[in-house]
């Protein structure tokens, strides 16, 4: 972020100037993370029409449980779920409703869904739910509210490449990384936290909060309870905020292995501790509905809830969407079944890919959640540098026609790690991808 001072801000002669935001490259779309997507767009794999095309393993999308959604939507009265319980006359409310409080029934449904995912170990108050058009918007909104331009959020590495854009682009806020490494499975340590905080202070940057993803993207692993407690403690001592992006919380393979920061806060009465905690959630991953643009900020801080609500005018969830999903999400019989089956299918996919990689001589980080695995190809690198990693990534893209995400785009401090998504394709396609990897590894062993 930030431009060299002399950069032209108007693209043609004589012409009208654009803002710094418009010309900055903080959108990050020139990075390998996105370059791979372009390669896929140009030559997408298709089982029948293009079997030698690029297989997209760089997009964390969940398609394994679509059938469950389809069955539900077909079975229930479609008119009813469209309009809400009032039937066609509900159109009037639908058409006019643009209240940033959001539909009460929908917020209640979201609260109940979030409780179910956490096995009832935490309660959610529908009045603390603020709706946004996706978790992307939720993270940006929270950043606007918690930090001023040139302040910083501490974010553990490796992290989701989109954060560089979502947290920094329009907000002017910086990210200071909390370095994690494989020696302890990339868990956050108190020393790493202190070190990150000190780095910011030394640069005269004011730290406003810590933002974690739990379960982690790209690691595909849950954050341990002890680590969460340490994090909250750290945030209290430094008097800063704690944001927990729990967008993959419903994609933990075994429910018992996930601890939400909500559970930690549940047992705390002290408002001055609670009110620094904020949770981000969305239906894009767990429910496989990224196209619906439904995200939420859940905050224990009244002021943040009030402020976020007002700012959500820039990113409201369509009333249509709220109506459609309210009845589905409050159908506890459906959601219980969906969550359970979805977890199971993801676990089986994960086992398939990890086993398949192991047979090819490739190890992955031990994961227990999410739509991807964190694969270690460090041993294949000619040069143990970021360039070496990008070279390997390029080979995998061009020769194996697999788009995977290099660790450097996730700011990983160790080279050679790659994120591989497995839930956005059929089982057959996954087998093909594994076969390509096997063949590649075989070829390499012969030399």
């Amino acid at each position: 972020m930030g431009l060299p001072l002399m950069m032209e801000r108007s693209s043609n002669n004589n012409n009208v100037e654009l803002s710094r935001v418009a010309v900055s490259d903080t959108h990050g779309e020139d990075s390998p993370y996105f370059a791979g997507w372009k390669a896929y767009d140009e030559n997408p794999y298709d089982e029948s029409h293009n079997p030698s095309g690029v297989i997209q393993m760089g997009l964390a999308e969940n398609q394994v449980s679509f059938d469950l959604l389809e069955t539900y939507l077909e079975k229930k009265n479609p008119e009813g779920s469209m309009w809400g319980s009032k039937g066609a006359p509900g159109f009037r409310e639908n058409a006019l409703f643009q209240d940033y409080h959001g539909l009460k029934t929908f917020r209640q449904a979201m609260a109940s869904f979030m409780e179910q995912i956490r096995g009832g170990k935490a309660r959610f108050d529908p009045d603390r739910i603020v709706l946004t058009a996706g978790a992307t918007a939720a993270n940006e909104l929270l950043t606007f509210i918690l930090a001023d331009p040139n302040d910083a959020l501490l974010v553990p590495t490796p992290y989701y490449p989109g954060f560089d854009r979502d947290l920094r682009w329009r907000t002017g806020v910086k990210i200071v990384p909390i370095h994690c490494d494989s020696s302890n499975h990339f868990q956050i340590t108190p020393e790493a936290l202190e070190s990150a905080y000190q780095t910011a202070r030394d640069a005269n940057i004011r730290v406003r909060g810590v933002l974690i993803t739990n379960p982690s993207n790209p690691l595909g692993a849950t954050v341990q309870k002890k680590v969460l407690e340490d994090l909250l403690d750290f945030c209290v001592r430094k008097n800063i905020h704690l944001v927990s992006d729990e967008i993959y919380s419903g994609s933990v393979f075994h429910a018992s292995e996930f601890t939400s920061v909500a559970e930690i806060v549940e047992n705390i009465d002290d408002v001055s501790v609670k009110e620094r905690v904020h949770i981000v959630y969305s239906l894009s991953k767990d429910l496989g509905l990224p196209g619906f643009r439904v995200g939420t900020i859940y905050s224990y801080n009244d002021n943040v809830v009030r402020t976020a609500r007002r700012m959500s005018s820039f990113t409201l969830v369509s009333s249509q969407t709220q109506h459609m999903l309210a009845s589905m999400l409050s159908d506890e019989e459906f959601t219980e079944k969906y969550i359970r089956i979805n977890r199971e299918r993801l676990r089986r996919r994960y086992d398939t890919i990890v086993e398949g990689l192991k047979k090819a001589g490739i190890e992955c980080l031990k994961g227990n959640a999410g739509l991807f695995c964190w694969m270690n190809l460090g041993f294949l690198l000619e040069k143990k540098t970021k360039d070496g990693e990008l070279q390997l990534w390029d080979v995998i893209l061009k020769e194996l026609k697999l788009n995977i995400s290099p660790g450097s785009s996730c700011h990983c401090s160790e080279v050679g790690w790659f994120r591989v998504c497995f839930a956005n394709m059929s089982e057959n396609t996954l087998e093909i991808a594994l076969k390509r990897i096997h063949e590649f590894m075989d070829r390499r062993r012969r030399f």
């Binding site: 100037e17 509210i145 329009r170 619906f292």
Partner: protein, 495 residues
């Protein structure tokens, strides 16, 4: 708002010496506070940043301080002191209902139309499920609406919008779908444009009176200022180049950098249609000063008068000036009466702006199922023709009734030809011809007559006594009720 209101008084020579000396002192104090906050904290060994030390005095004893939000968040949560929002809130406490609450407050403060709901409802009940769920092979396939799609909107939607906009704007202008970005409503459209065209601290010139929502839409997060360019009833509140010139020069003297001009056409709150010559003048002025032009045309389809609506896109297309400085905002909340769906448009002739806006749509995009409904709706040419004809006719009829009702009370309205409201001159009801008088009347209308109308002050109108009254959510029977209440208010204030 509180600073601006007395400041206007000073400018108009009504403030007096007291206010004239108080304001500079307050400004100086705020300047100091602003500068202090902008200074980076020194690296000091205590864990609490120094600026929060005052608020954390109590915490020195125990180690937990109250965590703070950013300074830009602070004004957002404050209850608004604008009559625009105050009025809207009050109606919620006691809304009028023809049957169940005949003494309630009648809402004239929200520019929404329900006049053609019958047509929309019919279309929705016949087409909604099909348009949303169907995929190419005719089977219901959730992946067609569930998966990620380009945030700037499906190509088919942009094509449908381009066609729709061309139709409703008179067919003399055509829109290129590749210059278009679909947003989750007009609100994010204007904010994204502000982010792209101006830096924090820069300003847009904006003719007054203007839509009160712009204060939030533009200032909340972008930090872009709005500099009012005052228009007068003698010009029917149409902006002049000399007023623009004067405002720009004053801004420059203050050290403010003006990035563009923002205006609405049909205008909100006045409802007048800007003549072709005025649009050309504005564009030439922008060319001369090398700034942007943003034309908010969200009411373009709600034109009911005799004047022809001309889009700035048409003027830009004439080739006299560099059109990359022209940007248009549109949306379906007003013309198609579906604000809840959240569908807006940024249309720009500047390729880099379109590219930046596309990327920014990740924060405000339209859900895919809704896009599919809209594609179907906007491409149903027969229905759109039927709808737009009825929409215009019904607004016209309602407008005539409303204005006639006011006329019989001796209350005139500004000349208007578009929008969902009229701009009413209630100066004859003012106890004093001043801002205070106007705000008193606003309060009396709200509490005694139980009518919420938006006072000109909220819209930065320089002449007191004007009120915006939205009439497109009213049934014909409501109009005599409103007129009677106004009449009674006037009687009681005379006595």
């Amino acid at each position: 708002m509180r600073l601006i209101v007395p400041l206007r008084g000073v400018i108009q020579g009504r403030g007096g010496l007291f206010v004239g000396s108080l304001i500079p002192c307050c400004l100086f104090y705020f300047l100091q506070l602003y500068l202090k906050r902008r200074r980076p904290p020194p690296s000091d060994p205590t864990e609490l940043p120094r600026t929060s030390s005052r608020t954390n005095l109590f915490s020195r004893g125990n180690s937990i301080g109250r965590v703070r939000v950013s300074s830009r968040a602070v004004p957002v949560a404050k209850p608004s002191d604008s009559p625009y929002y105050i009025g809207l809130e009050r109606v919620k406490t006691d809304p009028y209902d023809r049957i169940k609450n005949t003494d309630g407050i009648i809402q004239l403060g929200l520019a929404e139309s329900t006049l053609c709901f019958d047509l929309l409802q019919r279309w929705m009940s016949e087409n909604l499920m099909e348009s949303m769920m169907q995929s190419d092979d005719g089977e219901f396939n959730i992946s067609s609406i569930a998966m990620y799609k380009p945030f700037e909107g499906l190509l088919e939607l942009r094509v449908a919008f381009a066609d729709f906009m061309s139709r409703i704007m008179g067919g003399n202008v055509s829109f290129d779908p590749s210059n278009m970005v679909i947003t989750a409503g007009g609100t994010p459209a204007i904010e994204v444009l502000a982010f792209c065209l101006a830096d924090h601290g820069n300003a847009f010139l904006i003719p007054t009176p203007y839509y009160p929502g712009f204060d939030r839409d533009i200032k909340f997060r972008t930090g872009v200022e709005l500099i009012p360019v005052h228009c007068r009833s003698s010009d029917n509140f149409t902006v002049t180049v000399s007023a623009l010139e004067q405002a720009l020069n004053q801004a420059r003297k203050r050290g403010s950098k003006v990035s563009g001009i923002l205006f609405s056409n049909p205008s909100n709150p006045v409802g007048n249609i800007l003549p072709r010559e005025t649009l050309q003048d504005i564009l030439r002025f922008a060319q001369e000063k090398n700034i942007h032009v943003i034309s908010d045309e969200i009411f373009a389809g709600s034109v009911y008068g005799d004047k022809e609506f001309v889009s700035m896109a048409e003027i830009a297309g004439l080739g006299e000036v560099d059109k990359s400085r022209v940007h248009i905002i549109y949306g379906l909340s007003k013309d198609l009466s579906i604000p809840g769906f959240r569908a807006g448009v940024i249309y720009s002739f500047h390729e880099d702006v379109v590219n930046a806006a596309k990327k920014l749509m990740r924060f405000s995009s339209v859900p895919v199922p809704v896009q599919r409904i809209l594609i179907s709706l906007l491409s149903d040419v027969r229905f759109i023709e039927e709808y737009m004809t009825a929409h215009r006719q019904r607004i016209r009829d309602k407008h005539i009734r409303f204005v006639e009702g006011l006329k019989q009370l001796g209350i005139p309205c500004a000349e208007s030809g578009g929008g969902l409201y009229c701009w009413v001159d209630m100066s004859s009801l003012l106890t004093s011809y001043s801002e205070k008088g106007e705000l008193d009347l606003f309060e009396k209308l709200l509490t005694v007559a139980k009518i919420n109308a938006t006072p000109g002050t909220a819209c930065y109108c320089i002449e007191p006594g004007w009120f915006r009254c939205c009439f497109t959510a009213l049934a014909d029977e409501d109009i005599p009720v409103i007129m009677e209440r106004i009449r009674q208010l006037r009687e009681s204030s005379r006595s």
